[in-house]
Structure formats: C-alpha cells, structure tokens
C-alpha cells in the first residue's frame, strides 16, 4: 500500500491559497500567502481532500506523490 504525501512545485506556486482553504489539515500559509506543507504521509481519509486541493490549484503547482517528500 503506497503512502502518498503532498508536494509543491515552488516555481509554479503563486501563493493563491486555494490549497490551504481546501486542505487545512496539512496545508497552512506563511505570512506571504505561500503554503506551509506538512509532508507526512496521508491517512486514507485525508487523500480525497488532498486530491481536491491538487485539482483546485490554479497553477497546477500541487501534486500528490508516493512516499514522504524528501
């Protein structure tokens, strides 16, 4: 069973903040509006919320990846 975690493409990210709105369990915001991501593997119940946040990003900067983000 592969564990998934959330990761950000920092160059694409523009600090729009939709991800933090949709996935506050794991995504916070710094003082400039950029996501502060908890990179621990996601439990099964959080994955749908993560997917929603990934789909909502206007810059396609958020992604789900296997394993813990390095």
């Amino acid at each position: 069973m592969m564990s998934l975690s959330v990761a950000v493409d920092w160059i694409a990210c523009d600090g729009r903040g939709l991800c933090a709105e949709l996935f506050p369990e794991r995504i916070g915001m710094d003082e400039w509006g950029y996501p502060v991501i908890d990179r621990d593997p996601l439990s099964a119940d959080l994955v749908p919320h993560a997917r929603r946040a990934v789909a909502a990003c206007p810059k396609l900067a958020l992604r789900l990846q296997a394993g813990r983000h390095p």
Binding site: D9, W10, I11, A12, C13, D14, G15, D30, E31, W32, G33, Y34, V36
Partner: protein, 420 residues
C-alpha cells in the same frame, strides 16, 4: 588517518603560476598523454579512489558516473561557473591548468558514453581562453568528444546543477524545479553529468596514477587533495591545494602567517558556516571533521575574520548579497531573504528594537526547505551559525554597543548589477 603534513601538490604542481601549462605540449610533458583507460575500468578506478565532488556537495563521483552512464546519449558538463564571490579556485584552475580539466572532461565522457560535452565558464576573459584551448585540442585530435564552451552569468546561483542545465538549454541560468533530477533529464532532455572542474582535474590525474596514489593523501574516508580559497586576515590570500583533513590552523598558516589576530572563520562560503575563534583552528578541513559544528568544507572557501572586525556586520553584508541574488522564482525565498537581510542589518546596526532576534529565528524557520533549490537553506545555515558564534556581539548590539575596532569590509560582496 592523519593527513599527510608534507603536501605534494597535484593540481597545482610545478610552476603553474607561470602560465606555461596552458600549452598542451607542456602539459603532456609533465603529466603524460590522456590515458586510454576503458569506460568500466575508469568507473572502477573512481570508485576505488573515493573521489567526491569538489563543487560543494561532496557527492561520490562514481555513483554519479554510474547513474548517468545508465541513461541514453548522456551529456557531460564541466562546471566552472563559480558563482561564489569568495571562491577563486575554479578560475585559477581553468586559467593555469586548463588541460587537466579538459582531460578530465574527456575521461568523464568516455566513462558515461557521452558524445556531447560542455565547459561552462564564468563570464569574462576565460571564455575566449577556453575556446582557444578547446580548438587546439580538437585540431590535434586529443579530444574525441567535441567540446562547446558556454559562458555563465556572474550570479551566485549560476553554478547550481539545474541552473547550468537551464542555461545550456537556452534559458536563463536559474534553478528549475526537481523532478526529474539532471542526471536523468538535463541538457536537451538527456541524462546530464554536471561536475565541478576541480573534480574533473582530479579525475585526469587519478586515471594516470591510479586509486592508491590518489588515496595516499587525505583521510581514509575522504581521500585526496582539495583546492581552497583562503582570504581575510591572512598574509597571502589566494588559492592553495591541501590534503583533505588538514587542520584549519595549518591551512591559515599556509596562506601566510595571520596578518593580525584571527577571529572567527567562515568555512564553506556564503552557504557555509561560521566557526568560533580559537577552537576552530584545530578542526580538520573535512566533511567529518566539521560536521559536529554544523559546517562543511563546501567548495573550499576559508575566510579568517580579523579579530577586530564585527561578525554581525559582515554576515549582514553577505546576507544582503544572498537576498539580492535570489532567483526570485519561489515566494518564500523572494520574500523571506530580503526580510532576513533587513532584520540582520538592523541587528548589525545596533538597532535596539525588541524582537529582532526572534523575528530572525522565525524567518529562518519559515524559509527553510521551502523553495526549488537550496538557496534559502544555505542562507539559513549562515545566519544561524552567525547567531551562534557571535552571540556575544548580538548581546552587545542589543545594548547599543559594538565591540569591533575595525569595520573595513572583509567578505567580498560584488555590487548588485541590474538585469544580470
């Protein structure tokens, strides 16, 4: 394993400073012709030698070679960008012993099966010099793989792996977001080996003299010699070759007896760390030796702060430079580094406002590991080491007092250029 105290110079052997060794014939006269060792033997030799990258990350070269060799139609880049203002070793090597680098480049191509090679050189007169040498080698048939000379902009991040690849792909020399790493997809979407020029120069000698020879200097776990750029409060600042593991006190002495009293040491450049005065002189210049103090040799920059200088003022200057050198692609770096620079400058300027240290600590925690490259992380390391080593100065500055007696600038900080 004690480092050999009697240095036998390798890269900087003979009368390099005369410039004679720019001539291919003279180079071959001293070192012999380019070895014809086969690819797999080369990699085995590198593996046995324990040669690690001299660009700062100290990554085992054999692993890099193997990874790139596994790909299709790889590319090799000799990275001489040297974006670090305090480092001169790559420039000196390319200027005075260029054929060692170019030999190493050919050997790396053979080891990885590459048929495309680049020399990526800090912009300036070196570009034309290298072009002339590459042309000579091509016309005399020494180089099996044609080499393209490319110029690197004079920016701090120009030498970063993915920035090198981005530049060679025709774009600006700015880091790109990983994945995939450059050894999988780099120049022209091909697996790319980006290797510091000094590492390639070591390879050129290693292939001629063997792994045991290579390991005869340095430490067991970190064999070989390294180039370091020594500056600051020393009598004869410049580039030296030392065995890895030599204690810092000896390194400083070899750069001329200390001009005045030596204060703290900055090791590893502007992404490195400060070491406290006194005790640091007994530390070996090696990854293992410096790890307990949160430092690494990096690309071999060692700067001795004069005892009368203010470490906070110097660090503030460096951090201002680092902030200005941000690629400005990632929000935390673009916003956080200038904020750090400003806060540190206020601290260095004896601003007595409350909360400056806390603000600085909060900023370092915020920007750490949040970016496409390690620029924020390196800057954080420098700042945290400064707050540690210069804690006494911080306390004095909070009270409005600076104990420094000599405020002449020490760290080399180029003035910012618009539109670089």
């Amino acid at each position: 394993m004690t480092a050999s105290l009697v240095l036998q110079e390798r890269l900087l052997a003979a009368d390099i400073g005369s410039g004679r060794f720019r001539d291919l014939g003279v180079h071959v006269g001293l070192h012999g012709p380019l070895p014809t060792t086969g690819a797999s033997t080369l990699i085995t030799q590198v593996q046995a030698s324990g040669l690690t990258g001299r660009g700062g990350a100290a990554f085992p070269m054999a692993r890099k070679l193997t990874a790139v060799a596994a790909g299709a139609a790889p590319v090799v880049v000799a990275n001489g960008a040297e974006g670090e203002p305090a480092s001169s070793k790559d420039r000196i090597l390319l200027s005075y012993a260029p054929h060692l680098v170019l030999d190493g480049l050919q050997l790396a191509c053979r080891a990885t099966g590459a048929s495309v090679a680049y020399v990526y050189v800090h912009e300036g007169p070196l570009v034309a010099q290298m072009q002339a040498l590459v042309t000579v080698r091509a016309s005399t048939g020494v180089d099996a793989v044609p080499v393209t000379v490319a110029s690197a902009p004079a920016r701090f991040l120009s030498g970063q792996d993915s920035a090198v690849v981005a530049r060679l792909n025709g774009g600006p020399a700015l880091p790109t977001a990983v994945p995939p790493p450059v050894y999988l997809r780099g120049v022209g979407r091909r697996p790319t080996l980006v290797q510091n020029v000094e590492t390639l120069a070591h390879l050129a000698l290693l292939a001629r003299h063997g792994a045991s020879w290579f390991r005869s200097q340095g430490t067991d776990s970190e064999p070989g010699t390294m180039l370091c750029t020594v500056g600051g409060a020393v009598g004869a600042p410049g580039v030296l070759e030392v065995p890895i593991g030599l204690v810092l006190g000896e390194v400083i002495e070899r750069a001329g007896a200390p001009a005045a009293g030596v204060g703290a040491l900055l090791v590893g450049g502007y992404h490195g760390a400060w070491l406290p005065p006194g005790g640091a002189l007994d530390l070996p210049l090696s990854v293992e030796g410096l790890r307990p103090l949160g430092a690494t040799p990096g690309a071999g920059v060692v700067i001795a702060l004069p005892a009368g200088a203010c470490g906070l003022v110097e660090t503030a200057r460096a951090v201002s430079y680092l902030a200005e050198q941000s690629a400005r692609q990632c929000g935390p770096c673009l916003n956080g580094l200038p904020a750090m620079a400003q806060t540190l400058s206020r601290l260095a300027g004896r601003d007595r406002s409350r909360g400056l240290e806390e603000r600085l600590a909060a900023l370092t925690a915020t920007v750490e590991r949040r970016g496409a490259c390690h620029h924020p992380d390196g800057t954080v390391r420098l700042v945290r080491s400064a707050l540690r080593v210069f804690a006494g100065e911080v306390a004095a500055h909070r009270g409005g007092v600076c104990t420094a007696t000599d405020l002449r600038p020490v760290l080399p900080v180029p003035t910012s250029r618009v539109g670089a």
